[in-house]
């Protein structure tokens, strides 16, 4: 891994998104939301900021946790976006409190996707349980990857749900490498991989060298084509976290993050970029 660039200005810029109550919106001018707040909290942690700097964000996010350990989108929609609970477990693991982390993990372990009969037109096993975006719906790659990552990071990678989650991710892998939102192909035709989802799934499959190789190869081969801050962030985190070089991607990510205008800047993606640039493996056990 190459040396981390000086991200002081980027951290300062990200901090400017924080609202007085401690929450962070996806975009400037909007209301605070859980996902950007969680990722900004992790980015500040990864960038070496002090607990005092992180305190308002931690207080905001802690107050959002429901009694059952789940975490919703924002104070007005506490029952929506429960897929965010996995990310909250990772954040509480690094930034405390641990009892909040354990409650979150308890919810993650109980949150299940529904299954259905297999379809000959879609080459995937619909009977494997993963994690859904929305309660009582089907499982998809991103919420499943987040949940497996949470269990891995918190030392519960051997939990049967994590084991089945990894099986789910391997089943949804596109044959030539990578992942999209959830189907490897339809009617014998492969779907296109997404860089962000591929990075997340690879991180979730940490420790399975053979399983991650095609996805890592795919990201390496397509380095020139990856140009979004979000795609770059997750590509850098997965490649470097799993032992590959990603210097050109890291350099491009740094350049793009320094050139993005505030208009249209997604704080969650910017925070993911900072985590990647920090080199801290916050999503790995």
């Amino acid at each position: 891994m190459t040396a981390s660039p000086d991200t002081t200005a980027l951290v300062r810029r990200l901090s400017s998104f924080c609202l007085p109550d401690g929450g962070v919106p996806y975009y400037k001018g909007a209301g605070a939301s859980a996902e950007p707040t969680l990722l900004v909290l992790l980015a500040l942690f990864a960038s070496g900021s002090s607990p005092v700097q992180r305190k308002p964000l931690l207080a905001w996010i802690s107050s959002l946790q429901n009694p059952d350990g789940s975490l919703g989108l924002d104070p007005l929609h506490r029952d929506q976006g429960l897929w965010l609970t996995a990310l909250s477990a990772v954040t509480f693991h690094h930034c405390g409190p641990k009892d909040a982390r354990d409650r979150a993990l308890g919810f993650v372990a109980s949150f299940r996707s529904v299954t259905m009969a297999n379809d000959p037109n879609v080459r995937q096993d619909n009977t494997i349980v993963g994690w859904p975006w929305v309660r009582d719906t089907f499982g998809w790659v991103e919420p499943t990857a987040w949940s497996v990552i949470a269990l891995n990071v918190c030392g519960r990678g051997d939990d049967p749900r994590a084991v089945e989650g990894r099986k789910f991710l391997l089943d949804r892998r596109i044959p030539s490498g990578g992942w999209n939102y959830g189907n490897p192909g339809i009617n014998d035709r492969e779907l296109l991989p997404f860089w962000d989802t591929t990075g997340l799934a690879l991180i979730a499959l940490h420790g399975q060298a053979e399983a991650v190789r095609p996805g890592l190869d795919l990201l390496e081969k397509n380095q020139e084509r990856i140009d979004s801050p979000c795609g770059l962030a997750w590509s850098v985190m997965s490649l470097e976290g799993l032992g590959r070089e990603a210097a050109p991607l890291r350099q491009r990510l740094f350049g793009i993050m320094n050139s993005l205008p505030d208009d249209g800047l997604n704080a969650a993606h910017f925070a993911a970029g900072l985590i990647a640039l920090s080199g801290r493996k916050v999503f790995f056990p």
Partner: protein, 324 residues
């Protein structure tokens, strides 16, 4: 779920009794024919901004001083497939709105498959061709307004609408002319899925699939007020749409204040009989414009554009024509 099972399920939609009588409340049916204008656009290099503005004006769309939201379709991105509303069309419509005195013009989308808005309305390539006054909004990540579900077919009590959609004075639905592997065709009405933020509904919006795609389309058609529709049929998608199909050049923009009239006309241009597309039939119980006699066709001769889109075998029964 298998497509055949899904289609068997949707056959129930043909049974009006299942859904009660839509016309009893909130019906938007009108005795006057719905204007639908066809503008020839052989390729995306043509500049139709003035023509689009003229048609919108003739259709009575008042934009002066209003906050306008353009809702294109950016469900997924593939370098070789015409999946999305073309940026050139988006730009021309946005600039036509500014020309007509709109106070604010926004382009917003809650992409159905792609979380990363770089592949949708926040792509720098779109930004660079838009006037600086036009804002691009990622509707997947942001505030939402809970609005009661006026349809009730999905049994969802309410929808979380992206706040810019709820707060716009004028909403313009701008879909791509495509086949759809679950519903036959996807046009202005189906495009409303992209008004619902992914942080509430996921990627894809699986909750709507679970509640029934066609029921969801119909509920959204009842709940979301659309003021105008512009269908990008310059290059459509045939075959295994809306993602895996092939390009089908048609060379037309379809414009109308009436969503169903726009969709039914576009379906006819594609060689589908809208009276065999079940969600369009059901929408015809509360929206005007399903039948040819409900439509006042304007602009260019539809025979110039009428064609036969290839489609999956399951949907060949929805074909019909010639209609023009």
């Amino acid at each position: 779920m298998r497509r055949r099972d899904f289609l068997k399920g949707t056959a129930v939609l043909a049974n009006a009794a299942v859904f009660g009588d839509f016309r009893e409340s909130g019906s938007q049916l009108s005795p006057a024919p719905c204007p639908v204008t066809l503008l020839g656009m052989p390729d995306y290099g043509r500049d139709l901004e003035k023509d689009i503005a003229a048609v919108m004006t003739r259709d009575g769309l008042a934009l002066k001083g209003k906050k306008i939201l353009l809702k294109p379709n950016f469900v997924e991105t593939h370098p070789e497939r015409p999946i999305n509303t073309n940026p050139a069309v988006i730009a021309q419509v946005a600039h036509a709105c500014l020309r007509l005195g709109a106070a604010e013009v926004m382009v917003g989308e809650a992409s159905g498959h792609r979380r990363d808005p770089w592949f949708s309305v926040l792509n720098p390539k779109l930004r660079t061709i838009l006037d600086k006054r036009v804002k691009c909004l990622d509707l997947n990540h942001g505030d939402a307004a809970m609005v009661p579900n006026k349809g009730g077919l999905t049994r969802l009590p309410a929808f979380y609408l992206a706040r810019p959609v709820a707060e716009a004075d004028v909403l313009i639905s701008m879909p791509k002319m495509k086949t759809h592997h679950w519903t036959g065709v996807t046009l202005s009405l189906k495009n409303l899925f992209g008004t619902l933020p992914g942080i509430y509904y996921g990627w894809p919006k699986n909750l709507l699939h679970f509640r029934g795609i066609e029921r969801s389309i119909l509920d959204l058609a009842r709940t979301v007020k659309v003021h105008y529709n512009i269908i990008d049929g310059v290059v459509g998608m045939e075959g295994d749409g809306p993602i895996m199909g092939k390009a089908r050049p048609v060379g037309v923009l379809v414009l109308s204040p009436f969503s169903l009239a726009a969709d039914a006309t576009a379906a006819r241009l594609m060689g589908f009989n809208p009276r065999k597309v079940l969600y369009l039939v059901q929408a015809g119980r509360f929206l005007p414009g399903l039948r040819p006699e409900d439509v006042a066709l304007r602009g260019e001769d539809p025979k110039r554009f009428a064609t036969q889109f290839d489609c999956l075998d399951d949907f060949k029964r929805m074909r019909g024509g010639p209609f023009f």
